[in-house]
């Protein structure tokens, strides 16, 4: 009998180990399955947005209200950011251009930098913070307080009323905000150039736009539409799929900003590559 005892112990040890291994395997499988489910959820969410966008009962009133909230109410923040962007860019680059005797290129350089890259990306990142977090928090709190359920129960499709209107408004308003930020950026640049110099407003603008081509503006505007769509989608998705507790509202708002900003940068890299391929 004693001979068999060690065998029994080894068997017990092996069983515990295999249990731990199987627990780890289950946990990993669950993680992988959750990840795949999340991806499927995202695609279903986008599909339902597309379907509801073309539905008969489009919520025009709510869409215009969202355009006002996203576009008009972001103007003060975008005004300050845009102006400072041009001002700082000019103050930083002017001494280098003076050293190279190329100070006359300053307006064109600033205009191209702003229009091609800095204007769209910085405006989009600011909007990811302001608009994305707002959408995440608003829809998240609506979910927590059962307002989305109430909408569904009263025969109103919440995707159509809440999500489609916000995503479309963000897609349309962000390119307009980008153009507005570009214009103010060039104005800020003129103000910056006049701190240590004396350039007339008309001369500065005519010099700036003499270097800007249509193909500088068009890709920037097109990618701004994608920035808007990404910010709206992420903000709405995170808010709409928030958990039930109040903590999840903060999580939704936070992840809307983080993921929105990250996706803006990724979309920008792709857009720059495509534009570069088209130019060459």
């Amino acid at each position: 009998m004693e001979k068999f005892n060690p065998v029994i112990k080894v068997k017990g040890f092996a069983t515990k180990q295999s249990v731990r291994l199987s627990e780890k395997t289950i946990a990993k499988t669950e993680k992988a399955s959750n990840f795949l489910t999340d991806i499927a959820d995202v695609f279903l969410f986008i599909a339902s947005i597309i379907r509801e966008t073309f539905s008969r009962d489009f919520e025009f009133k709510e869409f215009f209200r969202q355009c006002f909230q996203i576009g008009y109410k972001s103007l003060p923040l975008i005004s300050i950011t845009g102006t400072i962007m041009g001002l700082v860019l000019t103050i930083q680059s002017r001494p280098v251009l003076v050293d190279f005797g190329a100070v006359t290129l300053l307006p064109g350089m600033v205009a191209i930098s702003l229009i091609r890259e800095m204007g769209p990306v910085i405006t989009a990142l600011i909007c990811a913070g302001k608009i994305g977090s707002g959408m995440g928090a608003e829809l998240g709190s609506m979910k927590v307080t059962e307002q989305i359920d109430a909408m569904e129960v009263s025969s109103t499709n919440p995707i159509r009323f809440l999500v489609v209107t916000r995503v479309l408004a963000a897609t349309l308003m962000i390119p307009l905000l980008v153009l507005y930020a570009d214009a103010l950026g060039i104005f800020g640049s003129w103000a910056g150039a006049n701190i240590k110099g004396d350039v007339s407003f008309v001369l500065f603008f005519s010099q700036a736009f003499s270097h800007v081509k249509f193909m500088d503006l068009l890709p920037a505007v097109i990618k701004s539409f994608f920035f808007g769509a990404v910010i709206g989608l992420v903000g709405c998705y995170k808010g709409y799929n928030a958990g039930r507790g109040t903590e999840s509202v903060g999580v939704a708002a936070n992840s809307a900003v983080v993921l929105g900003s990250l996706l803006v940068i990724i979309v920008d890299v792709i857009a720059v590559q495509i534009t570069d391929m088209l130019r060459s």
């Binding site: 059962e146 359920d149 129960v153 025969s155």
Partner: protein, 265 residues
């Protein structure tokens, strides 16, 4: 069998039979309902009927599955097993459009009130009305809004935001928003939770008033015995996801069962 068919059948019978038919006609019929979240089973083989015109109270401790039950009835949650017939329609076979149409006949009062924060009281009331009764003129909408506000005694709150309302006022406005579309069935999810005893009594009497005025059938989820006493025609008690007892209010009052006694005393 469809609800309309049931009604047609009742018109072919005599006047007395007709009264009996409408009285015993179930507007909600739940058979062997099962719902779980992960490994936790919340509802186990729950079967119940809500008869046309009655107030049925579902009682139970917190976490006994009452709210899950009511959310399954309106299709906000999908059960794993069992069937739910609402006004003769089987919920599991309905398309999303069909479910939307059915929901137009159901009023749901949420535990939190669920008023839309970004809208005024007036906009909150107009919201379901403009979407469910699309043919109404502006004058008719205004009249209907004033009528329901009068019914809940809050005509002065028309232009207030939900954040400016007290808990009791929010519940009343939420009730007004629910009855504004003339639902056939009212579902109340803990209508008196978080309210003081006086306001709770007011809400309970409002539930009775709504039932009398709008001829609705009501399913009231609560753990408030006072509310159950003043509103119930029949009570179903849930415990750990199963039906523990079903009967009239007097059956529960006179019960010697320790669990029921702990509730009713």
């Amino acid at each position: 069998m469809k609800f309309e068919n049931l009604k047609m059948k009742s018109t072919q019978t005599t006047a007395n039979d007709q009264v009996i038919m409408t009285k015993i006609e179930p507007v909600i019929e739940i058979i062997n309902l099962k719902k779980s979240f992960g490994l936790q089973e919340v509802l186990t083989n729950v079967s119940l009927n809500l008869i046309n015109g009655e107030n049925l109270v579902v009682l139970g401790k917190s976490g006994s599955g009452k709210s899950v039950l009511i959310k399954c009835i309106v299709g906000l949650l999908n059960p794993e097993e069992g069937t739910i017939h609402v006004l003769g329609e089987n919920l599991s076979t309905l398309s999303s459009d069909g479910l939307g149409e059915l929901r137009k006949k159901i009023g749901f009062l949420f535990q939190s009130g669920a008023l839309y924060d970004s809208m005024t009281v007036k906009q909150n009331l107009e919201f379901p009305l403009r979407r469910i009764k699309k043919n109404l003129s502006e004058k008719e909408i205004e009249d209907k809004v004033n009528e329901v506000l009068e019914n809940v005694g809050l005509t002065h709150a028309l232009n207030k935001m939900p954040s400016q309302l007290s808990g009791g006022m929010r519940k009343r406005i939420s009730l007004a928003r629910t009855i504004i579309v003339d639902p056939m069935i009212m579902l109340y999810d803990e209508p008196t939770t978080g309210l003081d005893p006086v306001t709770s009594d007011e809400i309970s009497s409002l539930i009775n008033d709504v039932q009398k005025k709008y001829k609705t059938s009501s399913l009231i989820i609560t753990h408030d015995i006072k509310c159950a006493h003043s509103t119930a025609d029949r009570i179903i008690m849930l415990q750990e996801g199963e039906i523990y007892k079903e009967g009239k209010v007097a059956d529960f009052d006179n019960s010697s069962d320790p669990f029921i006694k702990s509730f009713f005393n």
